[in-house]
Amino acid sequence: MVLNINGEKHEVTVEPDVALLTVLRDHLDLTGSKYGCGEGACGACTVLINGNTAHSCNTPVSSVADKEITTIEGLEKNGKLAAVQQAIMETDVFQCSYCASGMIMAAAALLKKNPAPSEEAILQAMNGNICRCGTYPYIIKAIKLASTL
């Protein structure tokens, strides 16, 4: 099976129902996407499929074989951080940072569709992502900042 990840083609030999997250992490060493719950309830594994957020922990790899997959590793373009990453650096958002990749992917997808999201739109888009350290107010602040960059 050939996967299109971060603009590169990757040939993988796996059963079709293996989770995309497992393929990314164990087969391709793209470990930025995290395991948090295995049931799409925490958002730590969030990636983009054709620009839309998806929980890679419960996405069978065969379902994304012909699609554009973007992970946290693909967000940096030509050595430049995405706006949301820059804003997060500036806001100094995270504590343990384990949720960071999923948060950043969810926020990047939101900003792509809605470059100046309201607080309500941010809450709605981000509510599937858990930060157990409770840095939510700083994430919101960073997304608002990113929308101005």
Partner: protein
Amino acid sequence: MENQDHLHHPFEPATDELPSKPRYHFKLDRRKFFKLGGGGLVVAFVLHDLISLGNNNNSSAVAPQSPDDVDAWIHIDENGAVNVLTGKVEVGQNIRTSLSQIVAEELMLPVSLITMIMGDTDLVPYDAGTFGSRSTPQMGTQLRKAAATARDALIELAAKKWNTQATTLHAENGLIINTATKEKIGYGELTKGKQLVMTISDNVPVIAAKDWKVAGTSVPKVDEMDFISGKHKYVSDMKLPGMLYGKVLRPPSYGAKLIEADLSKAKNITGVIVVKDGDFVGVAAPDIRTVTSALLAIDAKWEERSDHPSNENIFEYLLKNTSEEKNERDQGTTTGNVESGLTEAAFKYSNTYNINYIAHIPLEPRAAVAQWADGKLTVWTGTQRPFGVQQELSETFRLNKEKVRVMMPDTGSGYGGKHTGEAAIEAARLAQEAKAPVKVVWTREEEFTWAYFRPGGVIKVDAGANKDGTITAWKFTNYNSGGSGLDTQYKVSNKQIAHVPCNTPLRQGSYRGLASTANVFARECSMDDLARLINMDPLGFRLKNLDDDRFVTALQTAAKAFGWNKLKPAGHGYGIAGGFEKGGHVGTCAEVMVNSDKEVRVLRVTQAFECGAIVNPHHLENQVTGAIIMGLGGALFEAVQFANGKILNAGLSAYRVPRFNDVPKIEVILIDRKDLPSAGAGEAGIIGVAPAIRNAILDAAGAALNTLPMLPNGALV
């Protein structure tokens, strides 16, 4: 002022999760200090002055408080780079940053030149663990003194070299500068070709907090770039050549005994290693899918117990199952005569509070990678106690500690929930059999079921007060949740305080703030109820019975910022609560709204926080905000449901934690006491949240909620 370093402090975690262990002692050995290579200057912090360097022939049996105890050291290498070696670990409290700031401040260096080497048992000195908010007050103070000593030593070296007085020199930006002649020399040049070891103890002058330039500022999280680009390797991200993935067979319920296990099908799967060793049954395979199939292929018969309590009857169960076991910390206190104090009181109050078990849910579950080579075991694992895990491994595998190395890369949080080494032991046993490295990462369900919980408990309060609002009697008994924050922080002449341990049906242990989340809840709810009984303002009633200035200031600061005396709309209520824990003083105000369907919404939380001189204001505010949000979960809806020895909500779709939508407007006011030593900040921020919300609901709707969580369904019943 009493020096905090020398205060004997009780072993901080709720010790239930820890096996009893001997204290380690680290031997001073010059070679150890230069393990990183090269020469340079080392300054080690020791707790005592009696130091004998190079004397490595001592027996290993060292008496407690041995002069050989080294808690941390700083190594300035021949290139002027600074390595700080400490047993503390980073689990998101951003201690890597704040300890770097403290060292940078004294050494007059940019933070970027400092490398923190943390939680590697082969390299760093023994440390009991990262818990109890000790990193800043204890480790921070020691590193500060070591760094100050190093700076003075460098000045001395330069003075000798230039044949001048030390007083004419100063340190600046990694250089020693002759103030008059402007001659300069780098730290590395001064230490080149030397192997200098200095030890210091307590009486080293350090820079006063009011003069701080680096400490006291919001230095951004070090290594932040690695985290936000997905490059940081947590243990669960690690991969070693030839590494297998491991899984362990779990019982179907707590206390179940393995009768037999048919391993033949699992063994027949290509590439699978199966281990059965006593009660341990585990499998390893080259990929996660195969190892999962192998685990499912094991046909095991279990004998299950039938006498399990459930969360439906847990409070009754705890009261009926008190334990004889007494912990020294849990003796409680008795002052005056509580019974006569109660009899004589004009107002009498009695209440019972119930606290449910809750889960830590570190977003990164327990994980370990283990590797054996030449009889030595190396384990990378996410733990708050690398040396504790080293000890567990050395006991389990009957190895000398020197044959066990535990390393702790910065980990996906702990909140007191990662004091133990389960995954490390499991990975090590599988790796031993497989003769290859093995990684074990717990599933969320395993983390929910086989880790440990914040204890449930029952708290009974009997209190009395005079008409003028003086508390005359205070009887407080905590069943099971623990001794932290047990004693009242108000002035009471007659009191009886006790913690009664119970036989817990669930494995329990430390949690952020330990039992003070429960004890402060019961105390601060009772204070509000008493105030209402006497018809006093809840804040005024507290202040009348307080003589702790820091607590008073925290309450008043929060109340002022919140607008405690402002009018509120119908259906809205205000609540206040506070306390102090591990040097952190907190005052919390909450506003709630109860609508006509009796649904409750927390609108805002205002919290004043004071923990001495602030090392990093932004990270402190972030930490306190996080504690408030974590506190919301336990206050409103988090509860472990269990029955028949099983956890019924062992997943994040079933167990609700605070999310974006749950967050009220939060205002944190930091009180910077530059005249006081810096204390820890990770814990006290959580303690006022639940009682402030409870008291606000009482204010809004007249409903006194006495069980945590208060609103599992979001509305008053």
